[in-house]
């Protein structure tokens, strides 16, 4: 039986190749749980050119972090983060995300994204699906460090990884 899926073809103008001297496809997120506000404060660091490509893919047109209108980039970034950094509480419900801001360090090719995730029931047992840039690079490797007070845990999201649960070591 032929199964035909509709493929949305995006006109991103970049090329995705794994050539040459080993490009690095990775991003880092640090999440600190603020028990006073009951929110997870997330700092996500990503390579600026990779993220530009991701936004371009989302928008269906080429995006430039320096030149495209600020409001458009903000909106796209928010939409991208909500769908690519998915946090579910222990009970299984989706935790709402609130975007705080971003910082571009262009010379270093770094983009820092800041946002908060509401977790009124705490951070133990939450499930995270860290999909940022995964659809762009087959070898994208993301890592997340979650901290709650003195407890700390690092979760890796290599290419084949799906959702992971936050369970602090005793």
């Amino acid at each position: 039986m032929l199964f035909r899926a509709l493929i949305a073809v995006c006109l991103a103008g970049f090329f995705v190749s794994g050539t040459h001297a080993h490009p690095i496809h990775t991003s880092f997120a640090e999440a600190d749980y603020n028990s006073a506000t009951k929110k997870l404060e997330v700092t996500l660091r990503v390579f600026a050119d990779d993220f530009e490509n991701a936004l371009g893919q989302l928008a269906g047109a080429k995006i430039s972090l320096e030149k495209s209108p600020r409001a458009e980039i903000d909106a796209l970034t928010r939409a991208y983060l909500v769908s690519h950094f998915i946090v579910k509480t222990r009970g299984g419900s989706l935790a709402p995300q609130h975007w705080t801001g971003r910082e571009l360090k262009d010379a270093d090719n770094e983009l820092w994204l800041y946002f908060e995730v509401e977790l009124p029931t705490g951070v133990d047992g939450i499930r995270v699906d860290y999909l940022v840039l995964k659809s762009l690079h087959a070898d994208q490797l993301n890592s997340l460090r979650v901290r709650d007070g003195s407890r700390s845990l690092t979760l890796i999201f290599p290419p084949a990884q799906g959702e992971r649960t936050v369970r602090f070591p005793p």
Partner: protein, 800 residues
């Protein structure tokens, strides 16, 4: 983190008198494996590689010389070549077969190592990029197989052979004896791949606007695999990650291209009169005398004219290269060509003066050259050739004089860069409108330095790239870091060097000494970690002088030879005189990280034993204790002995600070004893503070301890404890310091240069370290007025 209170001064009775810095020895069964010698992990020294890390007396390596005739077909976009290859067997073994690499077969239609993005892993079927679809389509029709034919000996007799995917085995009619040579011929051809659609390190880039291509061609001929003393034939399949293991040899290449093409290649052009115009040759001569600015050999206007009217005639370029391990070339009618002479570098290299006499031989300068289409301007004309020259100048200081006549940087269709002897291909370029983000500028400078630097590692110090990626990538990235530091102040780090602490915090890393093909995080593993490790070694463990000497010794020992990791580790120790086994073990063989915590700081004071000093001191301390609330409240209550003074006795008026004769006598007795033992009693009255600092090695990776001491009088001091402090116990260490002033705070790794993965436990007293989020929040909230009245100028936080 809970605050650790420092205990109020316990008094110790001090009998030991030498107040040198003490290391407290560990109890029995303390962990010390990390300090053990590496001998168990390193291969046994042999006659080819000795225990000092140098090539042994019986060192050998084989050679392969190539005589190639090839045509670059610009219409069909194909390579057609034929060659006579002469293989020299300098090993002590008789070889019945030879292996050659057919790396093009990695792009064969049915190659099982085809990696396609968005294919099997983590695909969002609803969102496939245009590029991915295009690549899939392109792969349907593109078959990159290198068709090899006519494999014969020099008399024309056919040689039996077998092709194993990207490897070709020639079965020699008779085994090749040790010391003997064999020559054979073959022909091959293949279609060149479109780099924009298919990727890869080699291929063509098609420019639609003018209908021309730029060709950056590599891995384009069957090349001998390396036969080594430590692993036999290095004929692992080319899977795209691990790169190449090759033999040195001499090349003669006759390359036919359209006659309006500009060509750059490995080696020296033998027939400039035939292929270059008079003007071009004159400009080249001019460029040889220019060390301060670049000279156009082909100007942008000339390139533009060539683009417009493609020629159908052909010409043949003849190149000769000696002592190279590979041959690559670039060709296009679109190329602009600029050049500059490198300061202080000649070919052949100028030997150091002996006895004040310099020979009169004329040595032309080493030339730094760049080839790029107009789409590379305005970045390439400004930076590329300068970056090439800079690399040669700096690298030569740290290793050896550049032993080749030229170094090219070519703008190619690849993403990033790729290295070959004397020529490299680099991708960064400006946007279509001629502007570029700052990161592209540094991407270009960085990648040019990196790729040209690869001439040193592995093109000359010929390590095995497929087996140990870090030996060329790590060492090259390290010297690249040094070169970048000399480009401009506060040069921004490239993506390969950032985020190392984040990488090292992970628990699923693999050691640097892992086989290339199985390393997932190749960039951080092979590039960044060795770079940082070597920099720590240079700055904090060996110091610059010792390190630079040892590093140069390694580079010069293994120039034009094939080293292995053990040779590097052994040479660094051999030449520096410092035992570094704990360092290699930690940084290269383990997955430990740096995380040192200051557990406790105890303040100790000397007991002078003199009652005239100690009694008043004890009384003063007691009086200085804070009054309890109870006592405060009770102070006003009337007391009985005030109403009945006859209840007072001797003790009510006895001053506890006074000295009893028996105490005085005891003290004088002690002084007599000390005198009898020839010990100066003044030592007991030393006006010093003693602090006992306790450290824990939480991360496991042994490190020297750099401490910043802040005193109450405002002064600071930095002290450095070598990593040997951990040798009795790799998990805990203590340090006793003696100071005149009173200590206020201690910080471990004050400049944050030791790659410590947890900053919070580096401070005593504990300091709350703000997260980046909190810092951003604070800054972002600075100007609410602007934020509310001029929203387009501010970051826009969500309203809850």
């Amino acid at each position: 983190m809970p605050l650790r209170p420092s205990p109020l001064r316990p008094l110790i009775s001090c009998l030991a008198l030498a107040f040198a810095t003490l290391l407290r020895a560990a109890n029995n069964g303390a962990p010390v494996e990390k300090f053990q010698q590496l001998d168990q992990l390193l291969p046994t020294p042999t006659a080819q590689r000795n225990a000092a890390g140098a090539p042994g007396a019986a060192y050998w390596q084989n050679r392969a010389d190539y005589d190639i005739t090839v045509e670059l077909d610009d219409v069909q976009r194909r390579i057609n070549g034929s060659a006579t290859i002469t293989y020299q067997n300098r090993s002590p073994d008789a070889l019945s077969y030879l292996w050659l690499q057919l790396d093009q077969n990695y792009q064969a239609h049915d190659a099982d190592s085809r990696t396609v993005p968005n294919s099997r892993r983590g695909v969002d079927a609803a969102k496939v990029t245009y590029a991915a679809v295009d690549r899939l389509l392109a792969q349907e029709t593109y078959d990159g197989t290198m068709t090899v034919s006519g494999i014969t000996d020099t008399d024309g007799k056919s040689i039996p052979h077998t092709i194993v995917k990207t490897m070709l085995r020639l079965d020699l009619p008779a085994p090749l004896a040790p010391g003997a040579n064999v020559a054979f011929k073959l022909n091959w051809n293949f279609p060149i791949n479109d780099m924009k659609r298919l990727g890869e390190r080699t291929g063509y880039e098609f420019f639609e606007k003018d209908g021309n291509c730029t060709y950056t061609i590599a891995q384009w001929f069957p090349r001998l695999a390396a036969y080594t003393d430590y692993a036999g034939w290095m004929h692992k399949q080319f899977l795209g990650t691990g790169e190449f293991t090759l033999e040195f040899g001499n090349y003669t290449v006759r390359l036919t291209t359209p006659d309006d093409h500009v060509v750059g290649a490995t080696g020296v052009l033998q027939n400039p009169a035939e292929v270059l115009s008079t003007a071009q040759r004159e400009r080249l001569n001019q460029a040889q005398n220019e060390t301060r600015k670049t000279v156009f050999i082909v100007t942008p206007e000339e390139a533009k004219a060539a683009e417009a009217k493609p020629s159908t005639r052909k010409k043949t370029w003849v190149f000769k290269a000696e002592n190279v391990r590979d041959f690559a070339f670039a060709s296009s009618r679109k190329f602009i060509w600029d050049a500059m002479a490198v300061t202080g570098a000649t070919f052949p290299p100028t030997p150091p003066r002996v006895g004040g006499i310099q020979d009169r031989m004329f040595r032309p300068p080493v030339m730094a050259m760049s080839l790029y289409p107009k789409e590379g301007m305005p970045l390439w004309d400004k930076y590329s050739t300068h970056a090439v020259a800079h690399t040669i100048e700096v690298y030569s200081r740290y290793t050896f004089q550049y032993p080749y006549p030229v170094a090219y940087s070519v703008l190619g269709g690849l993403r990033g860069g790729m290295e070959y002897p004397m020529i490299c291909f680099n991708g960064p370029r400006p946007l279509d409108d001629g502007t570029y983000p700052e990161r592209t500028k540094f991407a270009l400078i960085g990648v040019v330095i990196h790729e040209v630097g690869h001439n040193y590692f592995p093109m000359i110090v010929n390590s095995d790239e497929r087996q140990w990626t870090w030996m060329d990538e790590g060492l090259n990235s390290f010297v690249q870091f040094l070169a970048q530091e000399e480009w401009q102040k506060d040069y921004p780090q490239s993506r390969a060097d950032r985020g190392l602490t984040d990488y090292m915090r992970r628990t699923d890393r693999v050691p640097v000494m892992s086989n290339s093909e199985s390393i997932a995080e190749l960039g951080n593993n092979s590039y960044a970690q060795p770079t940082i490790a070597l920099n720590l070694l240079r700055e904090h463990i060996l110091g610059r002088e010792l390190f630079d000497h040892a590093f140069k010794t390694y580079a010069q020992r293994w120039m034009f030879k094939r080293p292995t990791p053990a040779d590097f580790f052994r040479t660094m120790e051999d030449a520096s005189g410092v035992d570094l086994d704990w360092f290699w073990r930690g940084w290269f063989y383990s997955t430990d990280r740096v995380d040192v915590a200051i557990d406790q700081v105890q303040w100790l004071q000397l007991d002078s034993r003199d009652p005239a000093v100690e009694n008043p001191k004890a009384k003063a301390e007691k009086d200085a204790l804070p009054t309890t609330l109870t006592r405060e409240r009770n102070a006003a209550l009337p007391k009985r002995i005030d109403r009945f003074p006859e209840l007072k006795d001797f003790y009510d008026s006895f001053d506890k600070a006074s000295v009893l004769p028996s105490e005085k006598k005891k003290y004088e007795g002690l002084l007599k004893e000390l005198n009898a033992d020839h010990i100066d009693p003044a030592l007991l009255k030393l006006a010093r503070n003693f602090y006992l600092i306790e450290f824990s090695n939480i991360g496991g990776l042994l490190t020297p301890l750099i401490l910043k001491l802040d005193y109450t009088d405002g002064s600071t001091e930095e002290i450095k404890l070598p990593a040997e402090i951990w040798r009795f116990n790799t998990e805990k260490a203590t340090k006793l310091i003696v100071t005149k002033q009173e200590l206020k705070a201690v910080t471990f790794d004050p400049r944050q240069e030791l790659v410590d993965c947890d900053l919070e436990n580096n401070f005593w007293p504990r300091r709350a370290v703000k997260t980046k989020f909190q810092l951003f929040r604070e800054e972002a909230a600075k100007n609410p007025m602007r934020e509310l009245t001029k929203p387009e100028k501010a970051a826009t936080p969500d309203k809850p």
